[in-house]
């Protein structure tokens, strides 16, 4: 597709835009490349020549040492539990609430929906102290229910599912209604099958949010065996240097980079594979 009327100046501009983008992408990808490539370098080389990468020296030593000192598998396990529980709750309850707001008329609807949007403005940080006290009152500190239940049914997910479900033609629902479907079977038989792409987007967004969540997990899960992946990552240098007699920065750096690589790469892969859904999800808030 050769551009039809490219003047010289226009061509120059295109070249400049390409060059600018190349610089930008390099800046965006370099820290990730540095992390991954350094994690395969021998410890001393990471410290003495941080900019070079010699493929002949690739080693897994950092990874072997890291799995011995960092409780990263525990972190993955706890994050997996959190993902399943929180993801499950979000995917069951938020679309249902979105359906009610998108397709039903009932007294107080606008007020209640406005109220839900208002809770979006409430910073998590504000709730942390009283929530922690509530959890200790309930005996839920260091429990999965304490980790998962607060905030599992969140306002943004309801808002986003309402947008998706509003796109379903009313005739479709009317048909089901005339068939004698109850509200819930209408949802299960007609709404659920057609909102699958929206649900996929919600699932991807929830996955990324839960995987990267830090503030609440670090506050409520202080027992080492209950820490999520991100909390484990936040204590890396303590975990690594605490397990070692001699404090050799070279070895600490290698393990640290191995751990961050192991934690980062899965989420990047998930994103690249499912990015279509993700982009639609994050844009839902901005283009309404």
């Amino acid at each position: 597709m050769s551009a039809s009327t490219t003047s010289a100046s226009q061509r120059l501009r295109t070249i400049l835009v390409y060059a600018g983008m190349a610089v930008l992408l390099a800046a965006f990808l370099y820290p990730l490349w540095w992390m991954v490539s350094s994690s395969f370098k021998p410890g001393p080389e990471i410290v003495t020549s941080p900019l070079s990468f010699d493929p002949r020296h690739i080693t897994l030593a950092n990874y072997r040492a890291m799995f011995g000192t960092v409780p990263i598998l525990t972190g993955f396990l706890n994050t997996a539990v959190m993902l399943v529980l929180k993801g499950g709750i979000t995917l069951v309850f938020c679309p249902l609430a979105g359906f009610a707001f998108a397709k039903y008329r009932f007294p107080g609807k606008n007020f209640l929906f406005g109220f839900i949007l208002l809770t979006l403005m409430l910073p998590t940080l504000v709730l942390v102290i009283p929530l922690l006290l509530e959890m200790s009152l309930l005996g839920w500190v260091n429990t999965y229910q304490g980790l998962v239940l607060p905030g599992a049914i969140d306002a943004f997910s309801i808002f986003w599912m309402r947008q998706v479900i509003a796109g379903i033609p009313d005739e479709l629902l009317e048909a089901g209604r005339l068939d004698g479907c109850s509200a819930f079977s209408l949802y299960r038989r007609i709404v659920l099958p057609v909102i699958r792409p929206g649900l996929a987007a919600l699932a991807v967004l929830t996955f990324l949010g839960v995987y990267n969540d830090f503030l609440w997990p670090v506050v409520v899960m202080n027992d080492q065996s209950k820490q999520t992946l991100q909390v484990v990552l936040s204590n890396l240098s303590q975990a690594i240097s605490g397990a070692q007699v001699d404090l050799n920065p070279a070895s600490v750096w290698g393990q640290l980079l191995a751990a961050t690589t192991v934690a980062t790469i899965p989420v990047v892969i998930v994103f690249v594979l499912l990015q279509r859904h993700f982009v639609r999800g994050i844009l839902a808030g901005s283009t309404k």
């Binding site: 992408l25 900019l51 403005m121 409430l122 942390v128 929530l131 992946l229 961050t260």
Partner: protein, 313 residues
């Protein structure tokens, strides 16, 4: 948007509609129960984990509770203590500087980059967009750890590169002058791609004819950017500025991992300041701090929305 994906499913149930509907069997109730049941879980959860702790925190903020013992009412003591405490104002100032370092440049940059991307007919735009968002989805904690190493004063990649070209090395995270910019750089790295994608989506709604008309009137690239792109993106810009302001006013994990607030308290953001009340068990004070922050964040969001809207009318 979703409409197009829904379209194929349409014919089948429509056929079913013809079968049903015996005349006069309208079962429309005055007050439908179902929608209330559907939204009930959110409100139950909000009462349990939103309203209740919020009210509890409000009460707590008027006491000097330290996690155990009786609640002792001290009136506005916590609030007056905070409002006259230089540490509290220093934490707000640190967050304010962080905001200045990140939001204005990032927002303008994102609009400019999105404009360049959308006007030039580029190949591989999908690839660009995907790569731009990758930093946004990486775990913050992991990247903060990587940042510590890259910006290490002695062995870091950045200082090694600087000395290689004859520049002096910098104490990125160990000097008060550079600690904030270094953290701001991580925030910029992580979120700018997200900002660009938001602006790109909004720019696609601007009709090409506007630019063509301006070109006929002899407007240059610069004129078109300031008199067409920026004004028409006001909503998207306002949205992003509010989101970014909310995020930065709560910034906590970055300094928590990278500096623990140091050197010399230069990176104690308002979020980290609030968190520190938990570690020192000053829970009444922490609760009061939370409310001051909420009011501030709310005002900030309101102001940014107002500022960005006023020129429109």
């Amino acid at each position: 948007m979703p409409m197009s994906q829904l379209a194929p499913a349409r014919p089948r149930p429509a056929a079913g509609a013809l079968r049903a509907a015996p005349p006069g069997r309208s079962r429309r109730r005055r007050l439908p129960l179902a929608p209330y049941l559907m939204i009930l879980p959110f409100f139950l959860s909000f009462v349990a984990f939103g309203a209740y702790p919020l009210l509890f925190a409000l009460r707590l903020s008027f006491t000097n509770w330290r996690g155990s013992g009786e609640l002792r009412w001290i009136g506005l003591g916590n609030y007056t203590y905070l409002l006259t405490s230089s540490d509290f104002w220093a934490s707000l100032a640190n967050s304010g500087i962080m905001w200045l370092l990140v939001v204005p440049a990032q927002t303008i940059g994102a609009v400019a980059i999105a404009a360049a991307l959308s006007r030039a007919r580029l190949r591989g735009r999908g690839f660009f967009r995907t790569t731009l968002i990758i930093p946004f989805v990486t775990p913050l904690i992991a990247m903060a750890q990587v940042w510590i190493l890259m910006f290490d004063a002695d062995f870091g990649a950045v200082n090694t590169a600087l000395t290689a070209v004859g520049l002096p090395s910098v104490g990125w995270l160990t000097t008060t002058a550079w600690s904030k910019p270094t953290i701001a750089l991580l925030v910029l790295w992580k979120t700018t791609g997200f900002a660009i994608v938001i602006m790109l989506a909004a720019i696609q709604g601007i009709p090409d004819e506007l630019y063509e008309a301006a070109a006929i009137d002899g407007a240059g690239v610069w004129d078109k950017f300031w008199s067409i792109t920026v004004p028409l993106l006001r909503r998207a810009i306002a949205f992003y500025v509010v989101i970014a302001t909310l995020g930065i006013s709560q910034m906590f994990a970055e300094p928590y991992v990278m500096t623990k607030g140091g050197p010399y308290n230069s990176t104690i953001t308002s979020g980290l300041f609030l968190y520190n009340h938990i570690t020192t068990s000053d829970l009444g004070l922490g609760a009061a701090n939370s409310f001051l922050l909420v009011v501030l964040v709310f005002l900030l969001s309101l102001v940014s929305v107002r500022l960005l809207r006023s020129k429109e009318d």
